[in-house]
Symmetry: C2
Subunit: 217 residues, 2 copies
């Protein structure tokens, strides 16, 4: 079996989650860099890789492809210690993957992207609505982690990887992380796990509003 | 084993998905109605059921609880024909569950909710942005279903249930469903599946903007 391919954007938290899981699982892969803001997800070639034009996309050695970071995390972690065997615990992992994408990411990573790249100013109504949502969702997470080492309890799983991806840079969205001490302690615990690495890069100049061409314009 | 409980809101597409799966799997359950807009998810009691204050929540006979409709669908369908055994196909199911919650629902069900309950007027900028997103996402779905009977191909799965929940009422958001013939044909195929039922109800008067008290105020 040859290595899988990862269609990847270095500054994407969703892509970083997959790179982190691959590193922690010791899985080799071919990295295919996709420059989102140079319109590289807008090409017909990329549409054939993923019609939704999102990254990351995992391509298996046999050519089958899987988009959506959460689905990729489950696919990679099945049968490893990063995904519990117990069906109820697996369902709880999925619950956190879904919560992260639909509730947490828009008000943490989504806010950070829009502020850092000049798509929203901090005092605009949409930025303030996302900020308020971020405070609420990080508060929820803080309550959950108050008496737990990791999202599922004692064991580190892909649920932690999924929520770590954007939460560890949520301060760059202006979110008041010192109000969430349990989240901060959990971020530190994640960073101490075997095989941990962090290769998330800042958004490059062409990600700034008006500078490039992408699905975000 | 006694039956599971479902904390449920009759007008929620996310809750309807779970009710549909329970019906098609022939699983009996106790329905616990939660009147979202009468502030019933804002109580301390409901916070102990689900700190995120969302519905649906599945409560197993042993008292363990699971929120997030997509996670509940997987939990119920594991080991049945509604969820493939093949790991890659299971990952594809997850990919659609994640896509629905983060990309499709906000611009279909989320738009419908805001328009029907008077939270947005159709000509407002946020409504028009969601409308444009809805056209785009339904177009994606239409392309995918062009040469497939169901999302995974030949077999009906919980991915179909998850996307059906809000897509079958997307016309109530003013979305131009006749532009998506493959989606319409798929909606009809879903409605012909064994055990299909539809008990989604319209939003009640207290769901109107300003009429009740809920997480949406």
């Amino acid at each position: 079996m040859s290595d899988p391919r990862l269609y990847d954007y270095a500054a994407s938290g969703n892509c970083y989650k997959v790179r982190l899981a691959l590193a922690q699982l010791g899985i080799g892969y071919e990295r295919v860099p996709v420059d989102i803001f140079a319109a590289e997800t807008l090409t017909p070639e990329f549409a054939s890789v993923n019609p939704a034009r999102s990254t990351p996309v995992l391509e298996l050695a046999d050519g089958r492809r899987l988009p959506e970071s959460g689905a990729i995390l489950v696919h990679l972690a099945r049968g490893t210690e990063l995904l519990p065997d117990d069906p109820f615990e697996q369902s709880q992992v999925l619950r956190w993957l879904l919560f992260e994408q639909s509730e947490l990411l828009p008000v943490t990573g989504g806010l950070r992207f829009r502020l850092v790249t000049g798509r929203l100013s901090p005092d605009s109504a949409p930025a303030q609505a996302r900020h308020a949502g971020g405070v609420q969702m990080l508060g929820l997470l803080d309550g959950h982690l108050h008496d737990r080492a990791f999202l599922l309890g004692d064991g580190y799983t892909i649920a932690d990887i999924a929520l770590y991806g954007y939460t560890h840079v949520a301060h760059e969205a202006g979110l008041p992380m010192d109000e969430f001490p349990a989240v901060q302690a959990w971020l530190e615990r994640v960073a101490q796990q075997p095989g941990y690495m962090n290769d998330l890069v800042p958004y490059p100049p062409n990600a700034r509003a008006g500078a490039g061409r992408s699905i975000y314009e």
